[in-house]
Symmetry: C2
Subunit: 228 residues, 2 copies
DNA sequence: AAGATTGGATAGTGACACTCTCCAATATAG
DNA sequence: CTATATTGGAGAGTGTCACTATCCAATCTT
């Protein structure tokens, strides 16, 4: 298959495919002559993976590049690879430009970090010390406690227990197939199930809000009036 | 408080505060003279809210502007306001630039939409027909089914039940205080608890991956060897 | 032989979130 | 009552990101 066909079949413009080739997201096709290269089904699959990560997963191109380097390196174990995905996803600049209530030093932040450590300990989880998700959680908690106006919400433990159950099912469903398929499937799973989780959480929030704030309505949700 | 002090106390540079004023994220201070305006605690609180939404919540500035317009409009009910937040968060360009497997027309996408509708029906949820989270979920599911290499994962119902429980607790914890505080607290809650959820999900995934892929290790997670 | 297509290199685009530079009108200090 | 500093406000400039457009010479295709 030539580039034009790859483009048509994937729906990705040729200029963009060239860009992905340059960035190393997509491996080069097999060069047939100076002006011709042959692409296979693997390229198409890879391209779809890239699009899914970018469009649905909102993973930055640089992160995808880092992920795919690991996928294509046979010496990397699945667990390490998942770690790479986490790093690529959590590529938070760690003190974004403005360092108002900076990562370290802020008392809210320190308290939040302790809370995170306690949660992990409580759950008996094995988590790398430098895992980006730790920072992510600590930052979210610090912001939650620090904005003044923050609702109490459910205890972290409730989140952790629910997530432990779901994550166990997600990860165990990955455990099959050959290495490179396993790799791609694990990545897709990690990134896309996170989006699924978020989307369903939002739906659940909307429903909960409807239950709490609109008796049987406030002019917003006219349908399903008498349902309940 | 003058702008310099507002900047110092919030950690946000003056230039950026001016930018937020221009964009309407932050209300003007009380003009005292042609070159002097007075800012109060409310401005500081609002500024912290903005930073939390941008840094932790990754909400685009345009979305924050839309959200805050509703917060400052007393005729908007809490439920509608939460809807606005969802729109601001899910401001997905709906066919991003390249329309490869476009929103409509794609069979994977249509199947995914049916799956979403069935889930909502099953759970007995009240969800607006045009809710952005519907699209978000449908897009994630379509990508999941369409990449070829996708793990089965837990049934959607499991996610939905877990999220229903958490969302109910989140929303009910918001139900107090005066209107504008309630509004801000609801926003903070929606956005930041989502980050908390995501972060804990990632931690749970890392742990699950460690359990499944490393018997008692692969050279990655040297600590806690004999724990289990 | 004539036109189209290809891979590859280089430069340009638009969106985004700031950030910088000016400016005239005050404040404030000596 | 000057001299210096600061303020709010407006406009243009910056860096990043993910593309997108333009050229080009070397092939294919007809």
């Amino acid at each position: 298959m030539r580039m034009a066909e790859l483009s048509k079949r994937s729906g990705v413009p040729i200029a963009t495919i060239k860009y992905y080739l340059r960035e190393g997201l997509l491996p080069q096709g097999e060069t047939v002559s100076a002006t011709r290269a042959e692409y296979g089904e693997a390229h198409l699959r890879r391209l779809r993976l890239i699009r899914a990560l970018i469009e649905v997963g909102e993973v930055p191109v640089a992160g995808i590049s880092a992920i795919l380097k690991r996928v294509d390196d046979p010496s990397v174990t699945p667990h390490v690879m998942l770690g790479t995905v986490q790093y690529a996803l959590g590529a938070r600049p760690a003190g974004d430009s403005l360092t108002g209530d900076s990562p370290a030093g802020d008392p809210d932040r320190i308290a939040a970090e302790a809370e995170v450590a306690a949660l992990i300990e409580d759950m008996g989880w094995r988590i790398t010390p430098g895992a980006p998700a730790r920072d992510l959680l600590a930052a979210a908690l610090a912001a939650l406690r620090g904005t003044g106006s923050a609702p109490a919400g459910p205890p972290l433990r409730d989140y952790a227990e629910a997530m432990a159950r779901l994550a166990a099912a997600e990860v165990s469903s990955v455990d099959e197939g050959n290495r490179s398929e396993l790799a791609e499937s694990a990545i897709v799973g990690m990134v896309l199930y996170e989006r699924v989780l978020v989307a369903i959480h939002r739906l659940a929030q909307e429903n909960a809000s409807a239950q709490v704030f609109t008796g049987n309505n406030g002019g917003y949700n006219k349908l399903r009036e008498g349902m309940r």
